[in-house]
């Protein structure tokens, strides 16, 4: 008996079920943490959508117009995301996945393989959108007192809406893989995606949305709406989905747009199935073929490291880590996104118009200096979680080379520490100094912030390196998986707690000093000076002990491994 194609999806469900059944250390804590965060985010999205819908209801027809426009924009923004996600996911599910060899060697028709793989692609690439859109549409429905049919129609509209862009994305992948080798296509796509995301972030920031809050820019509002209306074209599935949902919100059924959604989705699936039958195997076969890999030799890098005053072993470890990082597109391309975020970060401080209120500007600038320090700390914690924490795990199955080599594991871990510390410190220090310069904060605070960043770098990089060695995931597919593990979450919690404590310890005495400096007629009581000095010492002790604790934990864990 030939089983229907959903049978081919069974291993994925069984794997998920087995993962859920298997209990590992820290599972409860991780589930509780992520559960609370997820519920909080979903609640906030629902609350936001509900509040906005209720506010718009007060503007009668204009409110409805804005709601309709908002829905079109919501679906439009998801459309491009889904298409891109579809391209990347299809590359893995249709061409690179390990289980494909088993499936293609089995007597299964190409059409069944296509249906199973496409269902998987749709699921994997759209779950995030669906999880986000549920509280949004629920908030709008409750806020608008929508009839029960609204919720059913929403499901009927969202389902084909996610299928259409994913089908188009899969078709693009099918085409790309038949032109380029699959692995090369993945690198190209990943780079394109990150450049796209990075430029989008920079572009959105450069539009200067804060101008809308200025009273003098109000006459331009009509132009603004005209601009908003322009990309909402009736030919896009996002428009059909928005119109269907909006009509059901009003108690009507927009059969025309609903039919357009379903016929397009089903039509695309049929055409794609035929195309897949024709070209999938050729693309898959091409993906298996050996190719001569193109890569950069980095001879200059090797020569430059010879100038560093470090031991031969450290130098080789450093060169190896740098070359592996720079040759892996999925690794270094993350730096582009980071660069975009840094630019936006600095630009935000550049355009802050603090002089609008001269009376407050001095105080606000100094408060911003601490906000800046906290932000820099958050950037540092995130960079550490993403790049430093997975450093030991990134050795993967090749870790035996280090463990059987005649080098103390302590040297190996210290090498990881220094490799992480220097870029993290330089990035955050430059960010802090530049942002404080743009803000024009008091000289004392600039020095305090600069020293705090140094202390933070030592502590957070030490903690990330050490906990990364204490909770390694050598079998993880990528560093993001390592960062999201129990140890990664534990690191983030500890990092944020450390950072907040440090900011309080250096912020309180600094602000006291500035207050007394601004009021020269009031003398500083002796006990306050003593408490202030104690706070600075406590900040130093806290940072150094966090650093020591992290590295010691990591070294012990490595030495006791096995």
């Amino acid at each position: 008996m030939v089983r229907a194609f959903p049978y081919l999806l069974a291993p994925s469900f069984w794997s998920s079920r087995n993962r859920a059944r298997r209990r590992e250390r820290g599972d409860g804590m991780r589930a509780a943490f992520f559960g609370v965060v997820a519920l909080g985010v979903a609640g906030a999205i629902f609350g936001g959508a509900f509040w906005l819908t209720q506010q718009l209801a007060g503007f009668a027809d204009f409110g409805d117009y804005l709601l309709r426009l908002g829905l079109s924009w919501l679906f439009l923004s998801f459309l491009s995301f889904l298409a891109f996600s579809g391209i990347v996911t299809a590359l893995s599910t249709f061409f690179l996945s390990d289980d494909l060899r088993l499936l293609l060697a089995a007597p299964i028709t190409a059409r069944r393989v296509f249906h199973a793989r496409f269902a998987r692609t749709v699921g994997l690439s759209s779950w995030m959108v669906v999880v986000f859109i549920i509280p949004v549409l629920a908030g709008i429905g409750v806020g608008h007192c929508a009839p029960t049919a609204y919720y059913f129609v929403s499901v009927l509209a969202v389902t084909p809406f996610v299928i259409i862009p994913v089908a188009i994305g899969t078709a693009v992948t099918l085409l790309l893989v038949n032109i380029f080798p699959a692995r090369r296509a993945r690198d190209i796509l990943m780079l394109m995606g990150l450049l796209f995301a990075g430029s989008l972030v920079v572009l959105l920031r450069m539009i200067q949305p804060e101008q809308l809050l200025r009273v003098e820019s109000l006459p331009d509002i009509t132009d603004f709406f005209a601009t908003l209306q322009s990309p909402v074209t009736p030919l896009l599935p996002s428009f059909w989905a928005a119109e269907t949902v909006f009509a059901s919100l009003q108690g009507r059924l927009d059969l025309l747009h609903l039919a357009a959604l379903w016929t397009t989705a089903l039509g695309l699936v049929v055409v794609l199935a035929a195309a897949s039958e024709r070209w999938h195997f050729a693309g898959f076969s091409k993906a298996q073929e050996a190719r001569k890999t193109r890569f950069t030799r980095f001879e200059l890098l090797t020569r430059a490291t010879r100038l560093l005053p470090i031991s031969v072993v450290r130098r080789h470890l450093l060169v190896k880590d740098l070359k592996i990082f720079l040759r892996d597109v999925s690794q270094w391309s993350q730096l582009l996104l980071l660069l975009a975020l840094v630019l936006v970060y600095l630009y935000n401080f550049r355009v802050l118009d603090l002089d609008r209120n001269p009376y407050m500007s001095g105080m606000i600038k100094n408060i911003y200096a601490f906000v800046n320090l906290a932000m820099a700390g958050l950037v540092m914690a995130t960079v550490c979680a993403r790049f430093v924490f997975p450093a030991v795990s990134s050795e993967g199955a090749a870790f035996w080379i280090i463990r059987t080599a005649p080098i103390p594991l302590r040297s190996f871990l210290w090498s990881k520490f220094w490799t992480g510390l220097i870029p993290v410190f330089l990035l955050t220090e430059l960010l802090t100094i530049a942002a404080n310069h743009f803000l024009g904060v008091a000289p004392l605070l600039r020095v305090v912030a600069a020293v705090s960043v140094l202390l933070m770098s030592l502590a957070l990089v030490g903690l990330a390196t050490g906990l990364g060695a204490r909770y390694p995931r050598f079998n993880a597919d990528n560093p993001s998986q390592v960062a999201g593990s129990y140890g990664g979450v534990a690191f983030m919690i500890m990092a944020v707690l450390f950072m907040l404590t440090l900011i309080v310890l250096v912020g309180w005495p600094s602000s006291m000093y500035l207050w007394y400096a601004a009021n020269p007629r009031v003398t500083v009581p002796g006990y306050l000076t003593a408490i202030g000095a104690a706070c600075f010492v406590a900040a130093l002790v806290l940072s150094l002990s966090t650093w020591w604790f992290g590295m010691r934990t990591g070294i012990r864990a490595l030495e006791e491994m096995g």
């Binding site: 050996a290 190719r291 001569k292 890999t293 890569f295 030799r297 031969v312 072993v313 130098r315 080789h316 470890l317 060169v319 190896k320 070359k323 592996i324 040759r327 892996d328 993967g396 199955a397 090749a398 035996w400 080379i401 280090i402 463990r403 059987t404 080599a405 005649p406 080098i407 103390p408 006791e560 491994m561 096995g562």
Partner: protein, 257 residues
């Protein structure tokens, strides 16, 4: 060169290696045989420094692995059963990195790396990324690395897995030449023909304990005696191995098929 004394490894209540003692002398090729799950790989991984023994002592070139791990590892070359290496390095870079870990002088590394790559027929792949290598090529690259720093003892876990006949012949020749130069080789294998052809002595491990040790002829004679057979034809090593480790299971295979 390699000496292990009363080595024990327990995982909770399960004892994987139970009081194993073994000596591999200078220039000796010592085979380490046993059925699946007998404790071969666990023992090898403990000697390589990848697993911590529950108790017992490991000496490599006179250095206690527990007390002086760096000195002991510096004299040892390790070839694991699965050749996991850094995929984003080239073969040449991997060898140079490996040499760096063993503290080799930079000036000597280039020539030695080329020499090892040529020996293992990987010369023309020196500047290619490891990710484009086949399993057999990766295995040969790991072997090049293991011999790079001129170790006094070599530990090999399943050397012939994934090698073609030409590769297998090459490895046998290299091992023989190394043993002639005084290198002690401890080799775990399932390929009894290889053990029969290459090993000076063989130890057989079963359920974590050494149950027999000797030359091929001694083991055959031992198996002959153990089976209670009438004096005369001593069994081949395969037959001797099966007798010593508890039967061939051929009857069950017949019943199933």
């Amino acid at each position: 060169m390699i000496s292990i004394q009363n080595l024990v490894k327990r995982y909770g209540t399960f004892t994987a290696v139970d009081g194993v003692s073994l000596d591999v002398g200078e220039g000796e090729i010592h085979g380490f045989l046993g059925p699946n799950g007998a404790g071969k790989t666990t023992t090898i991984r403990m000697i390589a420094g990848l697993l911590k023994p529950t108790s017992g002592r490991i000496l490599v070139n006179g250095h206690d692995l527990g007390a002086e791990p760096e000195a002991a590892k510096a004299s040892l070359g390790f070839i694991p059963d699965r050749p996991f290496i850094y995929e984003k390095l080239t073969a040449g870079e991997f060898l140079r990195f490996h040499a760096g870990l063993y503290g080799m002088d930079d000036a000597a590394v280039g020539a030695r790396a080329t020499e090892m790559l040529e020996l293992f027929e990987l010369g023309r792949w020196e500047h290619e990324l490891v990710e484009s290598f086949s399993h057999g090529m990766k295995q040969r690259l790991v072997m090049s690395a293991a011999f790079m720093h001129r170790p006094r003892a070599v530990l090999v876990d399943e050397p012939m897995v994934g090698l073609d006949p030409r590769g297998a012949r090459l490895i046998k020749d290299v091992f023989r030449r190394m043993s002639e130069r005084g290198v002690a080789i401890l080799m775990s294998t399932h390929t009894l023909e290889v053990a029969e052809e290459m090993c000076d002595r063989i130890s057989i491990i079963l359920k974590g304990q050494i149950i027999a040790r000797g030359t091929v002829d001694e083991l055959r004679a031992l198996a002959h005696g153990a089976s209670g057979a009438v004096a005369g034809n001593a069994p081949q090593l395969t037959e001797a191995f099966l007798r010593l480790t508890g039967g061939s299971g051929l009857q069950e295979i017949d019943e199933v098929l």
